[in-house]
Symmetry: C2
Subunit: 419 residues, 2 copies
Amino acid sequence: MALSKKPVNGMKDILPEEMQVRDYVQSVIKDTYRSFGFTPIETPCMENIANLSNKQGGENEKLIFKVMKRGEKLKVEEAKVEADLVDFGMRYDLTVPLVRFYSNNANDLPSPFKALQMGNVWRADRPQRGRYRQFMQCDIDIIGEPSNLAEIELILATTTTIGKLGFKNFEIRINERRLLKAMAAYSGFAEDQYDTVFIILDKMDKIGMDGVAGELLKEGYPQEAVDKYLGLFQGVEEAGGGLEGIKYLAKTLEGFLEADVEQNLLEIIDSVENAKTADFKLVFDPTLVRGMGYYTGTIFEIAMPELGAACGGGGRYDKMVGKFTGQDVPACGFSIGFERIVLLLLESGFTVPNQREKVAFLIEKGFSAAKLAEVIAKAQQERQAGKQVLVVRMNKNKKFQKEKLTTEGYGDIVEFFNN
Amino acid sequence: MALSKKPVNGMKDILPEEMQVRDYVQSVIKDTYRSFGFTPIETPCMENIANLSNKQGGENEKLIFKVMKRGEKLKVEEAKVEADLVDFGMRYDLTVPLVRFYSNNANDLPSPFKALQMGNVWRADRPQRGRYRQFMQCDIDIIGEPSNLAEIELILATTTTIGKLGFKNFEIRINERRLLKAMAAYSGFAEDQYDTVFIILDKMDKIGMDGVAGELLKEGYPQEAVDKYLGLFQGVEEAGGGLEGIKYLAKTLEGFLEADVEQNLLEIIDSVENAKTADFKLVFDPTLVRGMGYYTGTIFEIAMPELGAACGGGGRYDKMVGKFTGQDVPACGFSIGFERIVLLLLESGFTVPNQREKVAFLIEKGFSAAKLAEVIAKAQQERQAGKQVLVVRMNKNKKFQKEKLTTEGYGDIVEFFNN
């Protein structure tokens, strides 16, 4: 049977040129996050299917690659529904596995626990240009820190990393789930309407204030509630946005908003602005929603001027550990859009800094074993001295071979002849 | 529904302590292999199921984690056999994916192509202590180099890496598939008996010469063939083994053995011995078999004195690219036993060299935002100066907290109070 040369539908092979950039980005990320005290961990790429289908993952739960039972447990002919055939699933993010990991190993971990994860995740999305069904995620999380020290450190670590990768003028947008909810409650929406309201609000940057109003009315919500709701966003703008916008909301929403939300946001913005090392703005954005259902407090997102879309994000999810252990533990995380960053670097013609000097040794064919050993020993010396040495046979078309090696970055080409 | 805290059956969570060693081993491997001109590549963790079930993978093909079809293509009620439900499978090694990758991308790759792959593979083995169903493999391969320059460079790169990780007194055992076949043919075995004969020969180190003789006779092979076969191994020993053993076999097997096999092995051993930088022996072992069906020439294996089992291996597989492209391309690879090396290092109490200096900042609770910002700014400075700085809230039981931080390697603990 003929074998297929293509990768499976929707996934991709990564060639040396891209791989070099990926390795570099990974090493900068790891190194910077380590300097903040985050420790790398790893979980299996598969999880029990029940853990992945617990309604925490939102839309992603519809995109799970499912792994079939094996051996005696697999009964194909008797199976009525999918669930009869499946025991594991490929993880669709790194948050569900992290929380399981923490629940399983909390006794052996420092508290608070600062985790760094870099790993592939899988989503059976419809394949489309530039979006793949296997992709790298890169998360930092702090579990066990109730105060906004978690948010501050996560934002500083992430922005320092992005800054080290050469990005400038980016924005971190910040909001609070509790603020979102208070705004909806104040305007007169019922709690079971929040999700729909937020999905529409999330489109603000695409369809604008009028578009959001139109969609809310089309859902059948009363004109009065919609006006009151949009009036709040207007009010934030009129107050001048930023810290003043937060203060305006806190005052207006009195009785609907928990007392600590205002101070929480103001402290985060203040501390980050004072201690940041990268070139970015931390911006309060009352329209920021973030899709995942598990967020309970602060939420944030990276906006790059070079990109239409977000380039990472995160937030606080204080109720998720409790799903595994029965006891809530505060948690907060930030995920960098690894694939998008790699794409931006590749498109900008980025070259990886501090590479080894590259030397190619070309050996004429028919070398004796003794002479070959000599050349290879010489290569070994150069390698130990820090160089990258490629030893290859000389081709018939040596000119072409040397040209190709030069394109591959071999600046020095040494030829060895039989005599 | 209660969620399960354990990883899926047979796979494991990797905690910070082990992760640190893994990261270190990975970086040494990557760095050393790069100095030999190997370039990292990556393929998806899934392959089309037909590519994984083409009889190249031997026993591993029985251990595939299979991925279920999705959406309209999945028809559970109509399914009669497993194959109706499955389209992808998790890779069980990195060789099949590499060959597919090469077939798909050969035009964009240097020739010869020196690939480095580090990635997880999955095998649905029966779970047992110390053996997991997801594990890291670490392969280097040279595709497009017909001469033994490939073998020499692979053995030198691998042994240099293992040496840099601190291992000494290990052995590389080497043999040739064509020599194995010639020995069987010379002794009078038929070609369709070779596989069984080699499976029995493979047990030589466990059951000895008499054990092998017994099992061969039990299979019903004639006494004469068995005597002649074992006489060859005896002959190698009497010749003194090593280079003399190879010469003895080449002479004895005249008419059965391809003319270049002797010179091929002698050159490899000679060149490696002359150019090696690590402390190991390259040993000719006529009983070395290596399980995979795809090997066509030289085969080799790493034997560690600390381990009963092999710690990696590889060989030449000149016929595999042809299964994808219809045209054979010479290929040779060497796989390091990553998990075993990590295990040996962990058991030996190995500590990762050149770590950042670790400082912990303890902040009294109730800090104002302004004071918090000051402390964090100080942490940022120390991080930029190369230190690892952990910023945490002071616990009520400060003594215990400081003890724990010391155990975690924080040699310097700085306390910050409200006034």
